[in-house]
């Protein structure tokens, strides 16, 4: 090629497009794509968060988001940015050992960030906040679907108790009756009551919370009352109160509402018991009549027995119609012809009296049928009254007191929040992880001046990760 038909060999000189190394150029191109990626995600978050129905976005406290943990993470990431820049400086000055030290520190700080993130995620998962169903226990609204979800959660637990329910309720009855009479319980009794209540909790909640709410929601005469019942249940399970003074006020209002509920239940209970006693009063007359008739029947039966009592001779053991024996021994059975019609008469009277008893028995049965539903209602109201102290004690919600139950909870816009939060922080955490892997690979080198450009590019990537977090932190935690 050096002799080219007269042409001088064209010497091509390599002109860089941009006066930076290939690695750096490619990394910057990659970073601009990443900028677009995260800009898109962050913009999505902004649109969704400010587009949710007004005032419905969950507060950080509701979704177990702790701002100071996020602030600590921000600080950790800022520190790691500084350390990686110092590593670059050390490498450029050919201090390989120092550079390695700074890089290890950066790696440690990045791991701390991921560890704290894992702790945060665990807090959410512990409380049933997941990115999506089926693990997520979040519901947008306290409606019938929510009540159904709570029922579906409690029903299997209650069924599992079904073998013991009888025994445990029997154990509980006398203790509860003692309290209702106003007597004090001994420590041992109180402990036992607590244990029984704890074991029976799913069963109690199913009857006195879920079923009570369902019946109120279905049958209350007033639509507002139906709505209230659903909201009361949601608030009982997971209150969603802001922290601070406003939250305390709301707590007092809730306790007052529980007391008002208790009073209403007591009033209804009194009315029901009155109703039952009215119906029971109707028993008196028929029962008296039945008793009278029964007395007469018993007297007649006794007489009958006496008449039929004399020892049976061969003569009297014969069927009454046959009188051939009387022909032979007329002296032995002079009473028989006279006893027979008497027995007949008694028997007819008894039959007549028993016929009279039948309709009375029927009316008594009718009264039983009328009383039974009232008794059921009374039992329901009593159960509800027994639950209300538990609800009052669980002021931070049943979900907080009994987390093992994993009860579904109502957090408006909660599912939207969870999706966006986990998406944004998840993608960021993946980028952090990739950064950590890069650090491990870089740490395998001797970080002297010849490797400084690798360190520079790694540093650029890590600074970008920090940059994204700088925007994510206020957006997710503070907005």
């Amino acid at each position: 090629m050096s002799h080219d038909h007269g042409h001088a060999a064209i010497k091509l000189e390599y002109q860089p497009a941009l006066p930076i190394g290939r690695g750096k150029l490619c990394l910057w191109l990659f970073l601009s794509t990443e900028i677009m990626f995260f800009a898109g995600l962050i913009a999505t978050y902004i649109v969704l968060r400010f587009g949710s129905p007004p005032e419905s976005w969950p507060l950080p406290h509701d979704v177990h988001l702790q701002e100071y943990v996020g602030a600590f993470n921000t600080f950790v990431l800022i520190c790691s940015s500084v350390t990686i820049v110092l590593a670059l400086e050390a490498a450029r000055s050919n201090h390989a050992g120092l550079a390695k030290g700074w890089m290890m520190l950066t790696f440690v700080l990045g791991s701390v960030f991921l560890g704290v993130k894992a702790y945060e995620y665990n807090e959410k998962f512990k409380h049933g906040i997941f990115p999506s169903k089926p693990h997520s226990l979040l519901y947008e609204k306290a409606d019938l679907y929510y009540v159904q979800a709570v029922r579906l959660n409690l029903a299997p637990r209650s069924t599992a108790l079904s073998a013991e329910v009888g025994d445990l309720t029997a154990k509980r009855e006398p203790l509860v009756a003692k309290i209702e009479r106003g007597q004090a319980l001994s420590d041992q009794e109180r402990q036992e009551l607590e244990n029984v209540n704890r074991r029976l909790l799913p069963y109690d909640l199913l009857t006195d919370l879920v079923q009570w709410t369902e019946l109120k929601a279905a049958k209350a005469p007033d639509t507002v009352e139906r709505r209230k019942a659903l909201e009361m249940m949601a608030v009982a399970i997971y209150p969603r109160r802001p922290i601070g003074k406003e939250g305390e006020e709301l707590e007092h209002e809730y306790v007052a509402a529980l007391h008002r509920d208790a009073d209403a239940v007591k009033r209804d209970l009194a009315a029901l018991e009155k109703q039952r006693s009215v119906v029971e009063a109707e028993r008196a007359e028929p029962q008296r009549m039945q008793a009278e008739l029964q007395m007469k029947i018993d007297l007649l039966n006794a007489e009958l027995k006496k008449l039929e009592a004399p020892p049976m001779t061969t003569a009297q053991s014969a069927p009454p119609g046959v009188n051939f024996i009387s022909l032979q021994h007329p002296a032995e059975n002079p009473a028989q012809p006279t006893a027979n019609p008497r027995i007949e008469a008694i028997k007819m009277e008894v039959a007549a009296l028993e016929a009279q008893v039948l309709p009375i028995q029927a009316s008594l049965n009718l009264i039983n049928e009328r009383v039974a539903p009232i008794t059921n209602e009374i039992k329901r109201h009593q159960g509800r009254l027994r639950l209300l102290p538990t609800l009052e004690q669980a002021k931070h919600g049943l979900n907080h007191e009994f987390p093992e139950l994993r009860l579904p909870m109502v957090i408006p816009s909660g599912n939207m929040w969870a999706s966006t939060y986990f998406l944004l922080t998840g993608f960021h955490a993946i980028h952090v992880l990739v950064g950590l892997i890069a650090f491990v690979l870089v740490l395998l080198y001797k970080l002297d001046r010849t490797k400084a450009h690798i360190l520079e590019n790694t540093g650029l990537y890590w600074h970008f990760v920090d940059l994204v977090w700088i925007f994510l932190f206020p957006l997710l935690y503070l907005f």
Partner: protein, 180 residues
């Protein structure tokens, strides 16, 4: 040392290496460019670090201030956004070294900024207006304002007014309606 033959080697003459990047065989950087490599740089980085911490603290304080949140959340958001942008600029300019880079930085940053700003502008008409076109049925299942559930639950068990005056939430709206 002889010049390397391969144009792919970063030490090939005329190869587009970063003039600020130290190359083996040369002494310490003698390049000017007003860069602050070497011993003065660490001090600058520490200053930037302190500035970042202070800005984070400001952002945290603003975000947690209840008075701002109640009175003018818009101002609170604007302040936090401004702080975030300031922190971002500090990281980009100093940690990512852009302050001292040559004009090629504009080739990268300007198109990226244009695209980001365009994205933002395209979404501005949607911010805060998503619920404007909700159908009635959609409202039935939509999330409700915070205060509603508290008001409703607090009113529960109170004897209901038979004139159906009904409970109202804190803002004075009927709880059954979802519009605000």
């Amino acid at each position: 040392m002889a010049d390397p033959k391969s144009p792919l080697d970063p030490r090939f003459p005329g190869h587009g290496y970063d003039p600020l990047e130290p190359v083996d065989g040369h002494g310490d950087d003698a390049h000017g460019h007003g860069d602050s490599h070497g011993h003065g740089g660490v001090g600058k980085y520490v200053l930037v670090f302190i500035a970042l911490c202070v800005l984070t603290a400001i952002s945290f304080a603003v975000g947690n201030s209840q008075t701002l949140r109640e009175n003018s959340p818009g101002a609170m958001w604007a302040m936090m956004m401004a702080v975030s942008c300031a922190k971002a600029m500090l990281v980009i300019l100093f940690f990512m070294h852009m302050l001292w880079e040559a004009n090629w930085k504009y080739v990268l940053t300007i198109p990226a900024s244009m695209m980001s700003i365009f994205l933002l502008l395209m979404l501005v008409p949607d911010i805060g207006r998503r619920t404007n076109r909700y159908a009635e049925e959609r409202w039935l299942y939509a999330a409700e304002p915070y205060s509603n559930s508290h008001a409703i639950a607090a009113e529960a068990a109170k004897t209901h007014d038979h004139n159906h005056a009904g409970p109202t939430d804190k803002a004075g709206h009927e709880p059954a309606a979802g519009h605000k």
